[in-house]
């Protein structure tokens, strides 16, 4: 859980592309040692925000500070490691050559760079292929190498833009495990993703961005439970029941028919279960199965982004 000082501070950050507002005055903070998820649908402004924070592009308005230094300044870049959205190691260099280049660009002494490269390549399962050109690597191997390139400077903050997107299961798992171990060692991680499971498994807090604006920012569990209208009870009966009858039950906000099952949305699933049992007893209806469902982070994400869209 976040306990340290603020390491990323964003205030009213704005970025336009040809008149289109890609990032619309967002503000948030990330604390030292925190695993922070930045979620949003495609085109929501995630990559633009990361590019501003990592100094690749400049904001049109607002401020972004990385450990107290302006985002994009040499000081800010020196303390950050970056895994950009697309695979971008140098194909005509070996894995080792790519790591050495990064070490040079971060000003790491040669002996230290060699030590770190060997240890990173071992941890990433690439040591045996260290001298092969990157163009002979698979996508998963390239992405693992890119993570190594981001870690060669032993950064205090790590920015990752969709690091596991389109990867095989083993590579994705290896990267997630490595990220977990990094937060355990006190690194701050800023992860953009649209993979809700990934965010749910890894992040201490998540921010949801939609159409350039922040829709919510909280711990994944709190976001899920806060979306109370998305709690539901899934039930199947011995015989068909009219939807209108179920909609009239106390506390039901809406009903969906899913095959031979009914999903009843409610703010208080416990009370609804009681109502359902009473209803079935009163008319001699048999309950075949019944389960309560809490909303997933994905449900919360969809609800929050749809709410934002409706507000426009």
């Amino acid at each position: 859980m976040p306990v340290g000082s603020t390491v990323i501070e964003v205030r009213n950050l704005t970025k336009r592309y040809d008149g289109l507002l890609a990032v619309d005055g967002i503000s948030f903070e990330v604390r030292e040692g925190e695993f922070f998820g930045f979620l949003g649908p495609n085109g929501a402004g995630k990559t633009t925000t990361v590019r501003i924070l990592t100094g690749v592009i400049k904001a049109d308005g607002g401020t972004a500070l990385i450990m107290g230094s302006r985002a994009g300044s040499l000081k800010a870049k020196q303390v950050a490691g970056v895994v950009p959205e697309m695979s971008n190691a140098y194909n005509d260099l070996s894995g080792w050559g790519n790591l050495m280049l990064m070490a040079d660009l971060y000003g790491i002494a040669s002996s230290e760079a060699k030590k770190r490269s060997e240890s990173l390549l071992r941890a990433l399962g690439l040591l045996e292929r260290k001298d092969s050109l990157v163009k002979t690597y698979s996508k998963g191997m390239k992405q693992r190498l890119i993570l190594g390139m981001a870690l060669i400077s032993d950064p205090q903050i790590l920015f990752l833009d969709e690091p596991t997107s389109g990867l095989d299961v083993q590579s994705a798992r290896l990267i997630k495990e490595l990220l977990r171990s990094l937060t355990e060692s006190g690194k701050t991680i800023f992860l953009t993703t649209h993979d809700m499971d990934e965010a749910n498994q890894l992040c201490d807090r998540v921010a949801i961005i939609n159409q350039g604006r922040l829709a919510a920012i909280d711990a994944p569990e709190k976001l899920r439970t806060a979306t109370s209208s998305l709690h539901s009870v899934e039930v199947s009966f011995g015989s068909a029941v009219p939807l209108e009858t179920l909609e009239k039950l106390s506390g039901v906000s809406s009903v969906k028919k899913l095959g031979d099952k009914y999903r009843l949305y409610t703010a208080s699933p416990g009370d609804l279960v009681t109502s359902l049992v009473n209803y079935c007893c009163s008319c001699g209806l048999k309950i075949v199965s019944l389960s309560t469902l809490t909303p997933s982070l994905e449900d919360a994400f969809v609800a929050l982004t749809e709410k934002e869209a409706k507000n426009d």
Binding site: T54, L74, K77, A89, Y90, G97, L105, Y106, G107
Partner: protein, 251 residues
């Protein structure tokens, strides 16, 4: 960290970028062979049959090889890196944009200087004498830097396809060769021809080479050096400014 140390640190990182460029883009057999053969054959196609002495031909050939090699690859590096999406990686490293531009210039400079030694050594082997080797070496270094910076101006166009940039650079490079006193000495040109020749940086290197190899340059060496230095600074600063302006459109 003091400003001086930051500058030194950035120069070191520019050298790392240059080393990377040389390994990835320049150290290829076809690039090296093309760097020699293309200007050689272009030169021969104009020189053969004109009964020119070897002493006269050598400064022009040297100028052409240096000009073509120093501007051959550098315009395409930024579009290649845009296409391969490695530019974003470089931009997120603790280097400034001028550092990246300087790194690209230094790689092109090293390639230009190295390739220019080949015709020079061949020329010396077949009997051409270099009467002022220090002036020639200084002129060659300055001109390689100048032409490399010019190459980086071409690459500032925010295109991700190298062919677009190469077409653009060829439109400038070929006319420059023909107005720079390579095939006709400056003294033999009409006044309007000389006025056009003075616009080209290649004119001044060719003149330095004629001083060093033929001992009959048209302008004083100090003037050639001063103008080349002026062109170098102007091209480098312009390349850095143009890249600053167009870089956001590349990413």
């Amino acid at each position: 960290m003091t400003d001086g140390r930051i500058v030194l640190q950035q120069v070191r990182r520019a050298l790392s970028i240059a080393k990377k460029d040389i390994r990835i883009y320049y150290s290829k057999g076809p690039v090296i062979i093309f760097g020699i053969l293309f200007p050689l054959f272009l030169f021969l196609s104009f020189a053969i049959g004109r009964n020119l002495s070897l002493d006269f031909m050598m400064p022009g050939l040297l100028g052409m090889i240096l000009f073509f090699t120093a501007t051959a690859i550098s315009p395409a590096v930024a579009p290649w890196e845009t296409q391969a999406r490695t530019l974003e990686r470089l931009m997120s490293c603790p280097v400034t944009l001028p550092t990246i531009v300087l790194g690209d210039v230094l790689a092109s400079f090293a390639f230009g200087v190295a390739i220019s030694f080949i015709p020079l050594i061949v020329g010396i082997a077949i009997g051409i004498s270099v009467s002022q080797p220090i002036i020639l070496a200084f002129g060659l270094i300055l001109a390689a830097f100048c032409f490399s910076s010019l190459g980086l101006i071409f690459s500032a166009t925010p295109a991700s396809t190298p062919s677009t940039i190469m077409m653009l650079s060829s439109m400038v490079k070929f006319p420059v060769v023909f107005i720079s006193g390579i095939f006709i000495p400056l003294g033999d040109l009409p006044q309007w021809g000389r006025a056009i020749a003075f616009v080209s940086p290649l004119t001044y290197f060719t003149d330095i080479a004629r001083h060093s190899l033929q001992q009959n340059g048209y302008l004083p060496v100090a003037t050639d050096v001063a103008v080349l230095l002026g062109f170098s600074i102007f091209f480098l600063v312009l390349a850095m400014r143009l890249h600053q302006r167009t870089m956001p459109r590349r990413i």
